[in-house]
Amino acid sequence: MTNHWVDIKNADLILIMGGNAAEAHPCGFKWVTEAKAHRKARLIVVDPRFTRSAAVADVYAPLRAGTDIAFLGGVINYLLSNDRIHHEYVKNYTDFSFLVREDFSFDDGLFSGYNPEKRSYAKTSWGYQLGPDGYVVTDPTLANPRCVYQLLKTHYGRYTPEVVASICGTSKEDFLKICALIAETAAADKTMTIMYALGWTQHSQGSQMIRTGAMVQLLLGNIGVAGGGMNALRGHSNIQGLTDLGLLSNLLPGYLTLPGDGEQDYTAYLDARASKPLRPGQLSYWQNYGKFFVSVMKSWYGDAATAENNWCYDWLPKLDKGYDILQVFEDMHRGQVNGYVCQGFNPLASAPCKIKVAGAMAKLKYLVIIDPLATETSEFWQNHGEYNDVDPAKIQTEVFRLPSTCFAEEDGSLVNSGRWLQWHWKAAEPPGEAKGDQAIMAGIFLKIREMYKKEGGAFADPILNLSWKYKRPEEPSPEELAREFSGTALKDLADPKDAAKVLLKAGQQLNGFAELRDDGSTACGCWIFAGCWSEKGNLMARRDNSDPYGIGQTLNWAFSWPANRRILYNRASCDPAGTPYDPARKLIAWNKAAGTWSGSDIPDYSAITPPESGMGPFIMNPEGVARFFAVDKMAEGPFPEHYEPFESPLAANPLHPNNAKARSNPAARVFKDDWDSFGTADQFPYVCTTYRLTEHFHFWTKHAPLDAILQPEQFVEIGEELAREKGIRPGDSVRVKSKRGFIVAVAVVTKRIRTLDIAGRKVHTVGVPIHWGFMGVAKNGYITNTLTPFVGDANTQTPEFKSFLVAIEKV
C-alpha cells in the first residue's frame, strides 16, 4: 500500500477492483465502512462477480475477467477528454511535459523494438529526449506531440466507452456512471482510494493493470494524499515482509536487485542502479544504493566483507534467468532439479497446472517440507483416490516432513499491507516435535557448514564466512534477527558535518537508513527497515494509538517502513508552494519559520529543502516526478495496452483484430511445451476465474473444524443462464474441465455471475474457489489449480489464475 489500512477511512470514494476486500480482508474492510459512515464515501466495485464487497457497494459493475486495462484505459480517456484531471498536480508532479524519443512508436498493438522470436523488446527507444546537460527535455506548454501528455492522450483515445463496453461487457451506462464518480475526485479536496489484490496481479498482464490504476490516480492527484493511493491488499499476514526482505528470487533485501550474468563488475553493477538525477535539483534517492548494498553485505558476511573484495560481491549469484516459481517447476519438470525445499509453501495446491507440478516433483530426488500442516505437497506421491490418483510405486522422490510452528506459536514481526512492522508475541507452545523456522534453518545451515569444514567442496566461502554471531547458534532469536535487519554501527560514526561529533558508537543500533555508510562502518540487513529497532528499543512493539490529527496517523503504533512514514509520496499532498491541498487532511506542510516540513506524517522528502527548490515529490525516481510513461521499466511497454488473456473466448484482440502477435501479452514468457496446453474457445467456451472465500484461508483452514463447518465442501459458481443451458440445478454435481484436467464439485447457481455481451456474443463465466484439497477435516475436494494455465505476468511471472477457459457439464 502507498497508504495504510486506517487511512482508507479518509477517502471520499473507494474503488475496489481486482480484489474483493470484504471477502478476503474483512477486518481491514472496516475502514471502508468507516469512510462510508463518517465521510459519506461512496463505494464502487468492479468485478466479474457480484462479490461480498459488491453486496455493500453503492455502485457495482461487472466486467469480463482479464479486461481491466481496457476498463481503466477507458477511464483515462474519459478523464483526459472531459478535462477532469488535477492540472497543477499532473503538471508539476508527473512526467506530462517530458519529451519522448522520436524513435519510440506504437503500431497495431506492438511497441517499437519487438522481437517475436524472443517474445521480448529491445527497449532503447523507450526513453526520453535528453538535452546536452544530460537532463530530460520538457515542454511545459504540453503542445509538443512527443510530450508524454500528448502520447498518453493518443494512446488512450482509442479506449472509448463503446470499445470498453465491447471488450469488457460492462454496459456503457454503468461505465459512464463510474467515470463520473471517479472524475469528481480530481478536485483538490476530494480523494479516491483504489483497493486491489490478486484480481489484478494474477493475470498475464497483471503488473500493467496495476499501473493503469496508478495512472488514473495520478491524473486525479490522488497519490500521496490522505484517503488516496494505490493500495495492494496482501494475501498473507506477512507476504509484504516476504517481498520487503527480498525473498523473491531476483531480489536482495529492501528491493535491491541481484546482479545478472553480464554484471560481473561491481562498479558497473552499482552505477546501473545508483541513478543520477534526470532533472535539475532532484534527490534521486537510489543514488544511495551503494550504502544500502554494502550494509547488507556487512550484515551477512561481517568482517569477511571488505572494500578490497568489493564486500564479497563475487559471492552473490549472478542470474542467468529468473528463478520464479514457474521457471523452477519448468526446470524440475525437465529433470534439472535434484532437491526442493518447500518452506511454508504448498505448490501442489498453489502453483498452476497440477499435472505439471506433480509430474515435476516426481522427478526430484528429495523434497523437504517445512510446514505446520500436513500439506497436499507433502502427500503428492500418495494415492488419495479421485483427488490425487497417482501410483506411489512409480514415484521415487524421498519426502522429508519437518513440522514447524504456526504464527501464534512464535514471537516476531509481521509486515502488514500498510507496511507496518508489528511485533507479536507467542500465544501457545508448539505441539509435538514442531520447531520454529529459525531452528530448522539454523540446523540445516550448521550441519552443511560443518560438512564443508570437514570435507571441503566447491565454492565454500559464502557458507564458511556467513556471519552467525547468535547467542544460540542452533536457534537465532527473533529479537537478534530483528536488530540485525534494523541495523548497527560497526564503528563509531562521526557526524559528516562535524568530524569531532560522534553520532553513534560502535555496536549501537541505527536510527534509520540516513545513517548508512558505504565504507563498511554500518551493517543493516534490510535498509527500508532501518530504525525499527533503534537505541530506543523495539519500535515494532509500540501500541500507542493516539491520533493527534484525527486522521488515523498513529505514528507511535508499531513502525512503518520507510522511516516510520505512513503515507508514501506525501509531499504531493501539498501544492508546489508547500501548502496542503486539503487542510482538513493535512499530512505535511512547509513551515517557513522553522525551515522544515512537518505535520501528521514523516515527510517523504528532504525535510529541510524548501518548496521553491523545485525538488519533485517522487524522490525515488531520478526524474523527481511520477511516470505515466514507464520508460524501460516494464516488459511489455511504457503504456499499458489491453491484451487478451492467454486463454480467451475471443480469437483476436478487439483492439488489434489483424495482428495475431498482439492477441495476448507479446512479452509474456511461455515455455515451449506449454503452448499445446492452452485450450481454445471451441472446446472450452467459458471464462473461468479462481478466487478465495471469507470462510477459508488458502489451503490451511480446511484443517480447522470451525472453518470447515462454515464452508465444508468444494463448489463452483455459475450464472443462471448457463445453468439453464446446461440443465444444472443448485446442488448438482458438475465437472469443470480445462485443457489441463478437470475437477468435480457442487454447483452454486447464482444471479451474481452475469452472462456478458462481448462484441455481440454471449460470454459465460465460471467461478471456482480454491480452498479444497485432499488433506484436512473439510470434505475432500479436487485441487482447483488442476485447471489453471502455466503462464504468468510478463514482469513478475505471477500465474494467470484469474482468467482462462473451461467447459462444464453435469455429472
Binding site: 471477502e23 453486496a55 465444508p712 452454486v748 470434505k779
Partner: protein, 290 residues
C-alpha cells in the same frame, strides 16, 4: 442457570411475582444488514463462546452453511439474491437467530416451569435443565428459531450471551463483527444509532430504509436495519408482521385457569400437545438438520 446479576422478569409456567427493586435498562442488539458482508465471523464467535460445534456438512448449492439453525448453530447467515429494483441485483445477507421478543411466544407457550425466562434487561433465555423437550417453544416462536436437540431432547437457541451481558460485556457476535454491522447497547441507544444509519441509507437512495422492531411481539431486543423496511420478506423470509399464534394465547389462558385450580403443568402440556400436534415425535425437518 439464573445469574445473580440479572433479575428474572418472567418465567414460563410460573405465577411467582418477579423482583422489581432494581432498575435495569433494556438492552438490544442492532444488526445493520446494509453493513453486513456475510463473513460469518459471528457464527464462529458464537460457536467458540458457547462451546458449540455443528457437523461438518455439505454444500447444497448456496453459501449458507450450516444450512439452518440447529441445537449447535444458534446463529446462521442467510443469503438472499434479490432485485428489488429490476436489473439492480442486491445480495442481502441476514444474520438469523433469536429476536428476544419483548413479548416472547416461546415463553408464553412453554409448559415447563422456569425453562424459559426473560431477564429484566429483555433477554429471553432457555434453561435447559428445566426443559421437558415438548417443543411448544418451537410452535410459539413467530420467527422459527428454537431447535430441539436429538442428543438430549432439549430446546436451544441464542442466549444473547446473557452470561457475557450479565458482567457488562457485549455478545460475542457483536464483539467480533469486523464491519460494525452488529452493535449492542441499551435499546434506547440502539434505536438512536439505527436512526443515524437509516438517514445515511436514505441519502444513498434507499428511500424506505427503516428499523425492524415489530410491534406484534411488542418489539424485539434484536433489531435489524433494513434497506427495504417495507419488504422484510426479501430478507430470506423475515416475517412482515410477526405475532404470537392465537393457539398459544388460548393455551396460555387455559393454563392459567388450570394452574389456579392446581392441575399439574405436565397434564396440561400433554393434552394441548396431543390436541395440537399429535403424538410426540421429533419432526422430520429437525431430524435432518440437527
Amino acid at each position: 442457570m439464573a445469574l445473580q446479576s440479572l433479575d428474572i422478569k418472567r418465567r414460563s409456567a410460573t405465577t411467582t411475582p418477579s423482583p422489581s427493586v432494581r432498575k435495569i435498562p433494556e438492552v438490544a442488539k442492532l444488526i445493520d444488514i446494509s453493513k453486513c458482508i456475510g463473513c460469518k465471523a459471528c457464527q464462529v464467535a458464537c460457536m467458540e463462546w458457547n462451546d458449540l460445534r455443528d457437523d461438518i456438512g455439505t454444500n447444497r448449492g448456496v453459501y449458507d452453511n450450516p444450512p439452518d439453525l440447529s441445537d449447535r448453530s444458534w446463529t446462521v447467515m442467510r443469503f438472499a439474491e434479490v432485485e428489488p429494483t429490476p436489473g439492480r441485483l442486491e445480495w442481502l445477507i441476514r444474520k438469523d437467530g433469536c429476536m428476544h421478543c419483548a413479548d416472547p411466544g416461546c415463553l408464553k407457550s412453554c409448559p415447563a416451569p422456569g425453562a424459559i425466562i426473560q431477564y429484566s434487561n429483555g433477554i429471553v433465555d432457555f434453561h435447559q435443565e428445566a426443559c421437558v423437550g415438548c417443543g411448544y417453544c418451537v410452535m410459539g416462536c413467530p420467527f422459527n428459531i428454537p431447535r430441539l436437540s436429538r442428543k438430549d431432547g432439549k430446546a436451544y437457541k441464542c442466549t444473547l450471551c446473557s452470561d457475557r451481558v450479565a458482567v457488562g460485556q457485549e455478545p460475542a457476535c457483536a464483539k467480533t463483527c469486523p464491519t460494525g454491522a452488529i452493535v449492542f447497547g441499551s435499546k434506547e441507544d440502539m434505536l438512536e444509532h439505527a436512526a443515524g444509519r437509516i438517514a445515511d441509507l436514505r441519502e444513498r437512495g434507499f428511500a424506505l430504509a427503516g428499523v425492524y422492531n415489530p410491534t406484534g411481539v411488542s418489539g424485539t431486543h434484536v433489531m435489524y436495519v433494513l434497506q427495504h423496511a417495507d419488504r422484510p420478506t426479501l430478507y430470506q423470509g423475515l416475517p412482515r408482521d410477526p405475532g404470537i399464534s392465537p393457539l398459544v394465547v388460548l393455551w396460555k389462558e387455559i393454563a392459567k385457569t388450570l394452574m389456579s385450580i392446581g392441575l399439574g403443568a405436565a397434564v396440561v402440556g400433554g393434552i394441548v400437545h396431543y390436541l395440537s400436534q399429535g403424538p410426540n415425535e421429533v419432526p422430520e425437518e429437525e431430524e435432518e438438520t440437527s
